[in-house]
Symmetry: C2
Subunit: 281 residues, 2 copies
Amino acid sequence: VGAHVTEAQLAFDRRLVPLDWSADERRASFELTAPLCRTDGVLFGATALSAALMAFETVTQRPALWATVQFVATTAMGATIDLEISRMAEGRRSDQVQLTGRTGDQLLFTALGATATRSDGGIAGLGMTPPAVAPPEACERLGGAHRHQGRVGHQLISEFREATLLNPDPARPGHMAMWGRVLESATTTSAKLGFLADMVPIASCRAAGVDGAGSSIDNTLRIVGLEDTEWVLIELDGQVAAGGYGHGITHLWTPDGRLLATGSQSAKLFSIAEFMARQAG
Amino acid sequence: VGAHVTEAQLAFDRRLVPLDWSADERRASFELTAPLCRTDGVLFGATALSAALMAFETVTQRPALWATVQFVATTAMGATIDLEISRMAEGRRSDQVQLTGRTGDQLLFTALGATATRSDGGIAGLGMTPPAVAPPEACERLGGAHRHQGRVGHQLISEFREATLLNPDPARPGHMAMWGRVLESATTTSAKLGFLADMVPIASCRAAGVDGAGSSIDNTLRIVGLEDTEWVLIELDGQVAAGGYGHGITHLWTPDGRLLATGSQSAKLFSIAEFMARQAG
């Protein structure tokens, strides 16, 4: 792996999704362990994004710039997921890459992406400002009960707290924020940001005034910089819900207002009430 | 093509990118004519997105929900571009699709996407509000000189005007808007929205206080609804520029404030000054 990645970042990524690389360096696999699943024991979408970002960086030896993952099928805890990476174009400063994730013959997800060596003197500037929110210590953990009761799910290695907006804007009903952290570590990698960026569907429901979530159809993440921070401020904007599907965006910030990444997702939405009724029936 | 597409929409799409379908219905091709190019005579990125959206809708007979196009290589006016579409998953309400665009053996672009039949009673709501802008008649055409002098480029069938923001927000330096139209027609299709959604890099430069543009690395579009309108309000937010690369988002609105689509892009940025120097030297 290239000089851009520190030993601490490599160690962080290995703990998050332990990829087992084959000799040809275009194939890797990992076991779908409990922390890489949703609480219902199937592949957590953000795991696929994290693994794709990690694989793209390893093969190209450049930091990730962007990745989109398309979710095609899911699989259950214990499965071995095989990644196959293709480099479609190699540029002087950036590479275009693709990846498939399969278990056996079943395609689970496909990812497209780019990695890029940033230039020191390149055009630089920030177009947005982070929201004012209460600090993590003052915010309540989401799904708090899972922590100690559940033995399956990303909450085994991550934590999310709803971050109260101090200046909510009535013109943005889908605007909300969370504090998130992974592995209780301050090391930041592209894969860590990917692991935190699967929360948009909740905000798309919020835009419609509904307490709900969604099944992600895709997950797109665009990396800005990898500033170390334990807590990441996950700003969410549910843009719209229409006909049962929703679109939305996310901005990931350091607590002191540096932009780490931006993302977007589409999802099939459901209300918590619908979800509970389905579980019961 | 499914019942969701009207005759007017089919006719519009056929005029925009005349796809020639093969007998097996998984392959189509089109000629890269002058209006489907940039002014320098190579493939216009938005053409690839439009063609992908059209192809996804034709093969699945459902309206597009989302598409991401990865740009791998380009080609010159006159080339024949061959599309190959794969349906990866067929659901009750939505399909997951992929597509490649090649000229000869050369891969030009890959697209991932989904199409979805919307449900009438589904979760629905809007999370954002459109910006207040001057009407198209009061706004100046961008690249006005091209119209009559240039014989190559998308301006042969489209028009863009910078739409002055009436209430600019100093906290959003990358926030800007344009009016856009295609073929001087009020018919709206997914492909038309795709053709208008390649403007984000300009806003990413603006976020950095630079008058510039960029080479798109990808183009992601998420469709909300297909309301007929000649003029489309293209709201742009340059989110960030860092190390010479930029990320940004777009919202496409009808003039009366209905959301048609949202999008995002990453690009390699350059200033107009750099571009002129390169042309000269």
